[in-house]
Each structure stands twice: as C-alpha cells, then as structure tokens.
Symmetry: C2
Subunit: 375 residues, 2 copies
C-alpha cells in the first residue's frame, strides 16, 4: 500500500474518526484507525463498538500509488501526521509493507508498527429507509440546548441518552435526569414518518464536535431499531441506541400556571450565578425566589454566608415563594438566546416551566422543599 | 469598619494578594486576607509564612467612612466581589461589626463570617539598604528564561530555587536541576554592591504573574540574609530565601569547543518536537544528533517506532555524534528569541552549550550515553 496525501486533508480526516477510538480498552485493535485505499478514495474508520465513524478523502489532491488496507494506533498516527511537517500544504508519503508503516515528509521519516486490519470490527451500515434531514446548525443547536439535562452517571441508563421523536414534520428532542427535563421542538422542512430513538449522550456530544454548525450544510439521520446513522459531507457516524421505552413525558407537561414572570435573561442569570458562590458541592440549600408584585427577591442561606438580591420582573398572576437548585435554573438560562425569558409556576411544590410562546424550548425544573417561615 | 470601594480596584488588589494565600493549611487564618483601612488608604495582606504580599489602594475613588482592621476567607471574598455586580465601575460597600461582614452592591447583599485579624501573621518588612532596580519587563523575561530549569521535586531543596547574584552592575540568575543549567546575565543600569540570594521558584512564579511586563515600570529588589523583598507599584512581596551555599557554577562553564553549529531556531525546534511523539514518560532513549559536514541528522528509536530527520546547519570544527534528552533542548529553544541559535560541543560525553555571543543567556545541557554503533 502506497499513498500520497495532503497533510491538511489527512489530519482533518484523522481528527474526525479519532472521536470513535477507544481510549482504554482490552481490545487493542479498538485503539486503531483502519485505512483502506481503493477506487480513487481513501477511507478512514474507527469503531469502539458503541460508536463508529468513517470518513473518506476523495483523491483530487491525494494519489493511490498502490491500493490496500492497514490499521495503525490512532494516537501515535495522529501525533505524527500533525508534526511531521510545519507546512499544511505539504504532501505526506504513506507506505506499508504489511509489517512497518513508513511516513515521510520532505525532511523527516517515521517508521511505526502496523496492526492487523483483519481484526478490525467492520462498521455496520444501515438501510436508508427511515430518515430526516436537518442543517448542521440546527442539529448542533438542538444538542447544545438539551445535552446538559441528561444524567451524568448511568445508574439509570435511559437518562444518559436523549429521545429523538419524529412525527411527520416535527422533531421533539427530550433529555431528563430526574430533577428536570429539557425539550426542544423543531419544525422540519419536509414531512417524514414516525420514528423514535434514544441516542446515547456520548454519541451526541461527539457528533456536535464534528459537524460544522453551518446553516446550508445538511445532515441525514437514519433510524433503525437498534442503531442510528448520521451522514454528512464525506462522513458517516453509526451509533447503537439505548434499548427500552422512554419516560412518558407528556404526562408531566402542562400549560396551566398561577404565576408567570418575565425578566431579562441576562439579569436573572447574573443574579442566580451570584448565589452559587455560597454553595459547596454537598450543600442542598435552595435558592428561594420570593415573587411579590413586580419584584423578585432571591435569598440563600448556607454555612458560608447569606445572599439577599433584588430584581424587577414583569409578573402576572399570584405572588409566590418557591425554592430551586440554582444550577438547574442557570443551565437553562445559559443556553436560551432570547433577551427575555418567562417562568411559569403553579405553587411551591409544582414544577416551574421556562419556555417561549411557541414551546420551541421547554425547561421543566422541579422545586426544592424548604421551610417558608425561615425566609 | 466601613468602606466604599470601586469594584475594579478592589478585585484587582485582591487578585494580587490572593497569590500568597495558603490553599491547604491547618492554620485557617492563612486562608484569609487581612484588610486594614486608615489614613486614606486600604491595605490588603496575605501571608502563607513562606511568601507574603501586601498591596494598597489609595483612596482617590474609595472612601473610609470608619477605619479598622478585619480578616476574611480569601476565596469566598474574592468570589463575592467578582460577582456581586456586573458593572466594574460600581461601588461596593464593605461593612464589618467585628462578627459579620456585609458586602453590598446596588442590588445584592452578601453576609459572611468575619475572622479574627489578631491571629494574622504580620508581614516582616525588610530594611532597604541592599537593593537593585529592574524594569518589570526585564524581571519577567529573566524568570521566564530560567525557571523551567529548576528541579520539579524538592529532594534537593537548593535546586528548587534560583540563584540571584549581583556584582556591581551585573546580575546573574542561575537555575539547575542536575541535568542542565540555565543562566541569564543582565547588565544593570546602575552600580550596586555584591549580593547573593537563592529565591524559591514558587516565589518567582508568583512574582512573574503579578508584574505587568512593562518596560518603563520599575521593580526594586531588596536583599537580606534570610529574606528578599520585591517592591513595585503599590505592592510589596516578601519571601523567605533558601538557606545554604549554591553550587559552584563557574567550574562547570567553559568557552572552549570542538564543534559549533548555527541553525534556525524555529527549524531545529520543530525537528526536535517531532521526536517527542515517540517518547513515553518512562522512556530514556536519546535523540541522537549526527553532525556531519553542513548537515544535522536526528535519529530516535523507541518501542513506539523510529524517526530519521535531516536539516541543514552551519558547522565549524569537527563532525560529532551526541545524544540528548530532547525535552532539555526544547525547553531552551522555546524561550530563546533569536532567529538563529548556536550549539557549542566538545565530545559526546561533555556538556553542550546553547548561548549567544555576549553570553546573555547560557543553557548547559548534559548529553546521554548511547551505543554509537547502533546509529
């Protein structure tokens, strides 16, 4: 196998597939990248068995002097091609003899051990019947706006993924961790079928790092029973799904409320951030929202000290005193892009909803019980 | 005690002295900042007993409504003043009653516990007889150009500091770790006495973060037997010295050589960086420099693979084969600012010197033994 590749194209392809390389594994072949060259294209594949990524360089600038297939340790290979020359435009010669891989720039030659490509687990390609199309931008936004609400540890496996639910021309994405729910509703440009999939948070995190965020580039998402496949540019990402029926979200949602406040997002954000200073990790003290007339008073008492903070809001409905974990309020406020946000509440024991008029985003946050008399 | 201070001035003063606050200590008063207000200035002090820092806000913008002295937990205080308002120009009201400290912005009030200022260890101020004057810029450069050569662990205490040696109008700063020596010679603008001090690396690291790097602002360094004091702007830093006689450096230096190469610093840097890809931490394999005619060939063989790299150099004297730990070569090349660097060598067992014509910097690097026949 003998190839000539442009350094920039090569490092770009390797950095994409490297996201599916296992960091720690007892199967050392999973630490590798599979490289195969044939028919005027060079294919790079990584597969940690939960997540697999394949990307292709079409040979406009590269040259296949001798086709073939090989495997290399991903981290070492990536370090070498990054540093073998300082000139991104330079060509790198890649040659393997079935035992040693030689990488050559104009001044430097590296030789490293080849791995057995036969051991590499092939990437299952899905059939392309059930799919939707989104822009890079929209998919990136959906992930950013919800991913913080999945559970950090996998004591409940289902909570480590996000529900993607397609009904005709609408996509609903849901993430929840038992204390809060994040929902993002997106109108699709075309009408599709009805599909449901629980996609692992890890897969979504990696996807969101690979896609560009452009509004005019498209991602196709293909749904099967046990897997999902993302296709965009010259790249394919295949991921296992989380098995089972997702939580019944609709039973938890409601548009009724007794108290609604509308407030500058930035101002509320900085007042709530202020309160986190007094909270150490193990502390479960609530930040108490006291809504009275057109003002919102925030109070927090912890072992470190106390905070008392006031801001003006636009209120409709009843006065209300309700306590929250400030982290959950902050996470939602940080991703919302509107200048003003509205909080809908019923009483001190019922969830608070932060949402826009169209329900394009809904953040449900459970309140914390506290002794009202102490505030 | 009651004060009104501009947020920006206050956060700036606290961030300076915070560098001398103990992170982990059994004496909780060392986690505090001492604040004392009198005579139209507010003084902030931190002291971890090895290093103490004091800085003053002169009350042009601030106001002392009631003078006094108090102590506060540094991290909490710093978090609060950073976040109590988003407006850097806003005034913060600081009030203490001997038990509780109240911090107020226009919208928020924090209350935290006061600490007993009586327990705070006072900063020893030095007499100002023996001193030198440098610009912020020069001192920052000297530290940057030498600090990487001190020993990382303190199995030999003396190697964790740097020798500052003043003779009339010359300052020599030396750092060494048993494998290499970094020396920086600086001509001072005035003539001073003869002083020697071994300043802890930790002190120098903190100093270099506080000073601005300006060429027209001055730092005075005062020398005493057991301590050193840096004075600049409205800040005083006092540090203990490392006790003992420093190594006899002069016996290790020499201007003789058999082989001299001059090479583009940037080019040599990227070739040597390339070699580090193949080195894992425990590996002690040398990077072999083979100097022949006007070319430098670099070779490295490790368990991960091999590198063979060529570059052109300007050589005078004999051909030579010599091996180095590439990290030591890199550390020196990274701080040198000259376009071209010269390496002076004698044989494969004698130290290599990287230095300029005027000896304004000298980096001595010991070679590594290796089997020449294998290369």
């Amino acid at each position: 196998m003998k190839l000539k590749l442009n350094k920039e194209e090569l490092t770009n392809a390797v950095s994409i597939v490297a996201r599916a390389v296992s960091a720690k594994t007892s199967m050392s072949i999973l630490e590798c990248i599979l490289i195969s060259a044939a028919d005027n294209e060079i294919k790079f594949t990584a597969n940690n068995t939960d997540l697999g990524i394949e990307t292709v360089i079409k040979c406009d600038k590269c040259k296949i002097a001798e086709p073939g297939t090989t495997a290399v340790e991903a981290r070492l290979f990536s370090d070498i091609i990054n540093k073998i020359t300082d000139d991104p435009e330079e060509d790198i010669i890649f040659e393997s003899d079935g035992n040693i891989i030689e990488l050559k720039s104009s001044t430097s030659t590296f030789k490293i051990q080849e791995r057995d490509p036969e051991q590499f687990p092939t990437l299952p390609l899905l059939n392309e019947d059930n799919y939707i199309t989104l822009s890079h931008f929209t998919l990136k936004e959906i992930i950013k706006d919800t991913i913080f609400s999945i559970a950090a540890n996998d004591s409940n496996k289902m909570m480590t993924g996000e529900l993607f639910e397609v009904n005709g021309n609408s996509l609903r994405v849901v993430a929840l961790d038992g204390h809060r729910i994040a929902i993002k509703n997106t109108e699709l440009r075309d009408i599709y079928g009805n599909y449901k999939a629980i996609i692992p948070g890890k897969t979504l995190n990696e996807i969101s790092k690979i896609i560009t965020g452009e509004t005019d580039a498209e991602v196709n998402i293909f749904f099967e029973n046990e897997s999902v496949m993302f296709k965009f540019d010259d790249t394919v990402v295949v991921s296992r799904l989380i098995d089972g029926d997702y939580f019944n979200i609709d039973a938890m949602l409601s548009n009724d409320y007794e108290t609604k406040i509308t407030v500058s997002r930035k101002e509320l954000l900085s007042h709530v951030e202020r309160s986190t200073i007094l909270i150490r990790e193990t502390d479960k003290k609530p930040l108490v929202f006291n809504i009275k007339d057109q003002s919102l008073n925030l109070k927090l008492n912890t072992v470190l000290g106390s905070l008392n903070s006031d801001l003006l809001v636009n209120k409709s409905g009843k006065d209300l005193m309700i306590g929250f974990n400030p982290k959950f309020i902050l996470d939602a406020l940080r991703v919302i892009e509107d200048e003003e946000v509205s909080l809908y509440m019923t009483n001190s024991k019922a969830p608070c909803f932060i949402r826009d008029e169209k329900n394009s985003y809904i953040y449900l946050i459970l309140p914390i019980n506290f002794n009202q008399a102490a505030y």
